[in-house]
């Protein structure tokens, strides 16, 4: 017999805090942004409250749609690269003991203290011609003359992966730590080689958290604009770069708001799709 209790004044009081935070820091700003996307832009000045669809119509130009698809593509790719690198890295990190484990973890976490500006600028220099890493290769005699690796698509992808990598590890770490070593040992006593154990036991068990880490990197990099701005040509710019340019350089806040909402909706759709695929395929196993 279960009695469903009516929410008492106390539970309402507890709820008030998160709900209040959500309203003040998310719903109200987002509402303002939605409203702004319908405002009228005054060229050469700022904007005035209005209700017009001009911004939304402008969005459906091929160039912005194409940029949106490019952004989603490169961020999905960044998520994929991060997972492929971070999963084995984190897995072996959690299997290590003692001092090397702590040192590696500290190094990874200290990368979190680097701001996006510093990361973008550092890679800008490292991948450049004047004092970049190619000079080391020249010094070693591997290359004849130094080369510039930025701006390029690969440089943007590298930068995005670099800023997201520690977050990806932090997402995977707690779950992989909890993976009982006896589970992989059990697979081995049942005839599975370490390689087969990894694919038939470790990967399937870690699947949900891998998907979560992948989505985190996707959403996280989708919001990054400095990396693409610093390390890419205009054809490598993500939608975030355009949003920043519209808002700050062109002072076209209504159109920036429109693109931001559009990007939010797109990323929500992608997240929902990936989640759906995840739950469908899990049932098939």
């Amino acid at each position: 017999m279960s009695v469903r209790e009516k929410p008492s004044g106390r539970t309402l009081g507890v709820l008030a805090f998160p709900v209040g935070m959500l309203v003040v820091f998310f719903l109200i700003p987002f509402g303002i942004m939605v409203a702004t996307s319908f405002y009228h832009r005054v060229p050469g000045a700022f904007y005035t409250p209005a209700f017009e669809f001009a911004n939304w119509q402008r969005l459906f130009q091929p160039v912005f749609l194409e940029r949106a698809l490019f952004s989603i593509g490169i961020c999905l790719l960044a998520g994929f690269v991060c997972i492929v690198v971070a999963f084995p890295f984190t897995y072996f990190l959690t299997r290590m003991r003692g001092r090397p484990h702590v040192i590696l973890l500290v190094v990874v976490l200290s990368a979190l203290s680097l701001s996006e500006v510093i990361v973008a600028f550092s890679w800008y220099i490292l991948l450049g011609r004047a004092s970049g890493i190619s000079n080391i290769l020249v010094w070693l005699g591997i290359m004849n003359e130094s080369a510039a690796y930025q701006p390029s698509f690969a440089a943007v992808l590298l930068g995005l992966c670099y800023i997201a990598f520690p977050y990806c590890i932090l997402t995977l770490y707690p779950q992989l730590t909890r993976l009982d070593p006896e589970i992989t040992e059990a697979a081995q006593t049942l005839g599975a080689s370490p390689w087969r154990t990894f694919w038939t036991v470790v990967v399937p068990i870690a699947r949900p958290i891998l998907v979560a880490g992948f989505l985190l990197v996707f959403v996280f990099t989708l919001g990054s604009y400095l990396i693409a701005d610093f390390l890419g040509r205009p054809e490598h710019w993500t939608l975030s770069v355009f949003i920043a340019n519209q808002a700050s350089a062109n002072a076209n806040v209504p159109f920036a708001a429109t693109m931001a909402i559009f990007l939010t909706l797109l990323s929500l759709i992608v997240v929902a799709l990936v989640g759906l695929i995840e739950s469908r395929t899990r049932r098939l196993i």
Partner: protein
């Protein structure tokens, strides 16, 4: 019932086995030959090296020194996945992403068995461990006892030469543990599979084993059938670890008797040696004598504490020989004594087992 010779397999021989972790020696030189088809328990306190021994036999740890032979094959350098060994882990280590049937059939799937063959073998095993019809359950939906059975079925699926269990029942409550001890033992007898079980619970070892290997500090203290180890412990450690005991230290008189605190004692089998001799007497073999002092094999003392547990009573007596002497018995043998009473404790000759000489 006749059994073909190839059915009796899983004879194990350990030669000079040593395992060191950095500067800790977990197993300090073990030579052991175990007959096939039996249930053998490695019994000892935590940290005595019994689990490390089992893990070396399974191939999960590599010995620092020594060799392991399974049916006369040297398997020392063979990885775990080629050893033909089934193991139940302390945490059970069931695969959370697979259901019951998926867990039990995992080994067959890895071997590349056909789907029909896997399904029929899984059914067979479910029946063997009394889990018929639960193949579709998720692991998270099972009770502790059911999980234990799944782990057992999974380890037996490939009909391994050797079946290893590492404290398999330690997570279960006492009643269920005793029930599963009997079930596991009956299953082992039914299959005739060579089995090694690691445990720190002497009752578990006594219930299940053909042979008990008592370990302490990385070494083997004694090997023998459970009752023999209980009745004739080979060392003070074994006497104390397998059940409770009273250890009496005396001086050998050289004529087969000893003197404990000045009182003459005759011991089982006689004690020829002179010098210090330690004798073990089980609490249930010692007797209280309330109104007289026997001439031999007895110590006077003061009753310190009495407790009546219904099925047995226990009396702690201070005889001035180190720890309190414990006398235990069924209510039929109850000698009414009060706390503080002056009594004598009689240690019958056949119950006095010399554990050192």
């Amino acid at each position: 019932m006749s059994r073909r010779s190839e059915d009796v397999r899983g004879g194990l021989r350990l030669e000079g086995l040593v395992k060191r972790f950095d500067d800790v020696t977990a197993v300090a030189g073990v030579d052991l030959e175990l007959p096939p088809g039996k249930l053998i328990s490695f019994l000892g306190p935590s940290g005595c090296g019994k689990t490390t021994m089992l893990r070396m036999i399974a191939g999960l740890e590599h010995p620092t020194e020594g060799q392991i032979f399974l049916d006369d094959d040297d398997i020392t350098d063979r990885p775990a996945y080629r050893r033909d060994i089934g193991m139940v882990f302390q945490s059970l280590a069931l695969f959370p992403h697979l259901n019951v049937a998926g867990n039990i059939g995992y080994g067959l799937r890895i071997r590349g068995a056909e789907k029909d063959r896997i399904a029929s073998r899984v059914e067979e095993l479910l029946e063997l461990v009394s889990l018929e019809g639960l193949g579709d359950r998720r692991i998270q939906q099972l009770s502790g006892g059911q999980r234990q059975r799944v782990a057992t079925a999974r380890a037996l699926a490939l009909e391994p030469r050797l079946f290893l269990l590492d404290e398999p029942l330690s997570a279960l409550d006492a009643n269920l543990r005793e029930q599963l001890q009997v079930e596991l033992r009956l299953l082992q007898q039914q299959l005739g599979i060579s089995t090694i079980i690691v445990t720190h619970d002497q009752r578990e070892a006594m219930t299940m084993s053909d042979l008990v290997v008592v370990m302490n500090a990385g070494r083997i203290e004694q090997v023998g059938p459970p009752l023999e180890v209980y009745r004739r412990p080979g060392s003070p450690f074994v006497a104390g670890f397998i059940g409770r005991t009273n250890l009496l230290v005396g001086e050998g008189a050289g004529d087969g008797s000893i003197a404990v605190a000045g009182h003459p004692f005759d011991v089982a089998g006689g004690a020829d040696a002179s010098g210090e001799v330690t004798v073990s007497v089980r609490p249930e073999a010692a007797q209280l004598v309330a109104d007289s002092m026997p001439e031999r094999n007895a110590l006077p003392g003061t009753v310190v504490f009495v407790r009546d547990l219904g099925e047995l009573f226990e009396c702690f007596v201070d005889c001035g020989v180190g720890e309190h002497v414990i006398v235990a018995g069924s209510p039929r043998d109850w000698v009414p004594v009060q706390q503080g009473a002056e009594v004598a404790v009689l240690f019958p000759t056949e119950a006095c087992v010399v554990v050192t000489s």
